[in-house]
Symmetry: C2
Amino acid sequence: MGGPTGDDLVEMLAALANPIRLRIVATLASRRDYVSQLAREIGVSRPLLHMHLRRLEAAGLITGRLELSDDGKAMKYYEVTDFDLHLTASAVAEAAQTLTMPDSGKGPAPKEST
Amino acid sequence: MGGPTGDDLVEMLAALANPIRLRIVATLASRRDYVSQLAREIGVSRPLLHMHLRRLEAAGLITGRLELSDDGKAMKYYEVTDFDLHLTASAVAEAAQTLTMPDSGKGPAPKEST
DNA sequence: TTCACGTGTCATCTTTTTCTTACACGTGAA
DNA sequence: TTCACGTGTAAGAAAAAGATGACACGTGAA
């Protein structure tokens, strides 16, 4: 039972549930890369890539750090983390127990009269 | 390398990346259930639950079949499938190769002049 | 018939994601 | 200075997802 909490799991799954972000992780899996170069390889604009990178980093799937190149430019390099998610029905059932519910459970069940 | 295709993976992940749907899978993991009862237990309206169930079934994570109860009512019972997703950076990298791209790769890379 | 319970769908509204365009800043080289 | 390349962010349009309410249909029991 070392899995992530329900909320964290949802965030990780949501982060991976997108073609572009899947591609970002796939690209970074082979070698780390900096933002502009990554944008060119994947074929998306930098602002868009920036947004996707933030989502992936917030979910803990990648990490980025700013470095200075030889010619003095500030480059932000990203790389993947060693995430390892094993998804089965029982794993999901366990994580779901730690889900932060909006308010259900205390509120009255949705009325369904005619 | 028996994993799902990139598109299928995205669909499965998107299906699980939601608190309510996570709860549905968790509930069905212990015992199968029919729609109205499930809606009461989870605390959502039937139309909403119906939509989430469709998404989960489309992703292949649950299956439903219509049965007739003793008192002649048509009940739709759902249960979880034996899905087993192992998510690592390399697994993602492999699945990403079979992603159906909108059009990138052929289209001109996003211009970024000025 | 009317009620309670089961099924499903459609139209609509609200919220969130996704994406583009435009801007700002910094550095090294021509 | 101007250009090329790197960084980041903010505003707004477009698209998708989430959620609700009102329907319609069927059956058994009061």
